[in-house]
Amino acid sequence: MEQTQLNVKQFSADSFEPLIHAERESREKIVAPSLTFLQDSWRRLKKNKGAVISLFILIAVAVIAFGSIWVSPHDPTKQNVKYINLPPKIPGVSLDGFNGTALIGGQRVDKYAQANVPEQVHFYLGTDGLGRDLLSRLLMGTRVSLIIAIIAALLDLSIGVTYGMISGMKGGKVDNVMQRVLEVLSGIPNLVVMILMLTIFEPGMTSIILAMIVTGWITMARIVRAQALKIKDQEYVMAARTLGESSSKIALKHVLPNISGVIIVQMMFSIPSAIFFEAFLGFIGLGLRPPAASLGTLLNEGYKTFRFLPHLMWAPAITLSVIMVCFNLLADGLRDAFDPKMKD
């Protein structure tokens, strides 16, 4: 104790200097890099392994599915009665089930040799009852699912967001009427709408899309309306109003950017249900017509011969599941990334 006191006294006065107060300027400087909303969300999304993997799987699936328009292993619609019901054969794989052999009456038979398939011809996932290459058809079906996904997203963004935004921003009587219309629309089951469409149109992509136009965007419209109602009472919207901003500009500049996260998340969640809706229609025979294929129609064809040729159903079933799980995981990740508070 005494020691330290002595030491302190030994310091000479000129070894001290007054602490210069940090200038106001530098006190108010912000040093952290400025992140935009998207950069910040992307940073959070990258931390979510499942979402990132899903994103890459989906990109890969999309590239392969759309790439197969130009480079398909075989023609997906070409029938060949000589090559019907061939099992999968992948070059270099000698695993039973993937080497072109099948168990017939307890014995392994090389079906490719039986059907006189040339040595260099392989059907990686086998062929169906009409001799069409399953892999090519699977790629075709995946393409249909992805197109449905894109259309569902576009409908959400165009009709859903616009409808919800107008309803929420206008409020009052307009809102009241628009909400009653929504209630009526959402009261009609999807399937009924689809059947009504089929009374007028040929079954196929057109009627599916028309059915989606009627009901596919309702959830989005509701969510956007609720969010718009919330945001439009915020003080920054009032500030814009007192500055003389027009209502449409307020919707675009102030409301929309602040609910973009919710919109994207809702869009991502609506995609798997749209894909499933199409697959379901295909499965019960209201969807695409042959020779076009969708995952649903492939499932339908596959399940008839599931006991003898299970791969005809396994392939589309796994593909459909992977796509749906990936969209769901990605949507989950996006939700957490856009709004960490929304997680519960």
Partner: protein, 317 residues
């Protein structure tokens, strides 16, 4: 305060009524027959408890709501019935507002420069992008922020800084009259003085007129020239801030005054809160009556002598 030459009334509110859901079961008379005026260059403080209609008064004046009834004269022109985009645009430049919650009053998705320049863009006040940037930088400097802040987002700022951004946004359109809706009540005490001083400095520099809304009478007294005390949608007392603070007459004002703590232990030990009980409805017609020069009380005709005597008594003490 020198009141040699009476300045002109920049804002004159007469019998303003703002009802929500009028005629329905859930009618709310947020502002009920309120009259007051604000002289050019002064600060008019509006105090009252939460929910008494202070914000609503401000928002009706700035025409965020459509007033149910009454007149609002701004610079001699009745703005309560203003219609047409062109008239409205000029008015939107003359009156601006500063908001209560610094966290809700800035759009989190916009950069500070775009927030501040919003009014400049709407009214086309900048000749070029360079001019716009220059104006934003000047405004930032005016409110004591750094140029480098222009490209940042609101969430990177503290409450006091955000409030100053909000002030810069209001100033961008060169208003003459600013409604400050509890601009400091959400801030830390140490920051409150900063913002109040800034507002006073700006008032001097730009010859601004303020309507300063608050629920804290001592703060309002510090910043205001005149004070209006509001209770349940009605103004109950109006006078110069000295007069109201020292000789507040209306029982509700007395109750507010009795709630102000002072840094004096003797006083605090004996301080007694006066609770205000609204008088029973006696059917008398009441309105704001001038009981002394510039001092108004909400009362009936036959109560005027009573308040005058009360004022005399208080002044003698």
């Amino acid at each position: 305060m020198n009141q040699v030459a009476m300045p002109n009334k920049l804002l004159d509110v007469q019998n303003l009524k703002q009802y929500f859901h009028p005629g329905q079961e859930n009618e709310v008379r947020a502002v009920d027959n309120v009259s007051f005026h604000i002289y050019e260059g002064e600060t008019f403080g509006l105090v009252g408890e939460s929910g008494c209609g202070k914000s609503t008064t401000g928002r009706s004046i700035i025409r965020l709501y459509h007033p149910t009834d009454g007149e609002i004269y701004f610079n001699g022109e009745d703005i309560s019935k203003l219609k047409g985009k062109k008239n409205m645009q000029q008015f939107r430049r003359d009156i601006q507002m500063i908001y209560q919650d610094p966290y809700a009053s800035l759009n989190p998705r916009m950069k500070v420069q775009d927030i501040i320049a919003e009014g400049i863009d709407i009214h086309g006040l900048a000749e070029s992008d360079a001019d716009r940037n220059q104006q934003v930088n000047d405004l930032l400097e005016l409110v004591g922020l750094d140029k480098s802040h222009a490209t940042r987002y609101p969430h990177e700022f503290s409450g006091g800084q955000r409030q100053r951004i909000g002030i810069a946004r209001a100033l961008a359109v060169q208003p003459r009259f600013i409604i400050c809706d509890e601009p400091i009540s959400a801030l830390d005490v140490s920051i409150q003085a900063q913002v109040v001083n800034l507002l006073q400095e700006l008032q001097r520099k730009k010859n601004l007129t303020y309507l300063f809304i608050a629920h804290d009478l001592s703060m309002v007294k510090y910043i205001s020239d005149r004070i209006g005390v509001m209770h349940f949608g009605k103004l109950v007392e109006v006078g110069t801030s000295e007069e109201v603070y020292r000789f507040g007459l209306h029982p509700y004002t007395e109750s507010l005054l009795s709630a102000i703590p002072l840094p004096d232990p003797d006083y605090e030990r004996n301080r007694r809160r006066v609770t205000y009980q609204a008088p029973k409805e006696d059917g008398k017609e009441r309105s704001l009556k001038e009981i002394a020069s510039g001092h108004y009380i909400y009362c009936s005709d036959d109560e005027v002598p009573f308040y005058q005597k009360k004022l005399e008594q208080k002044k003698r003490q």
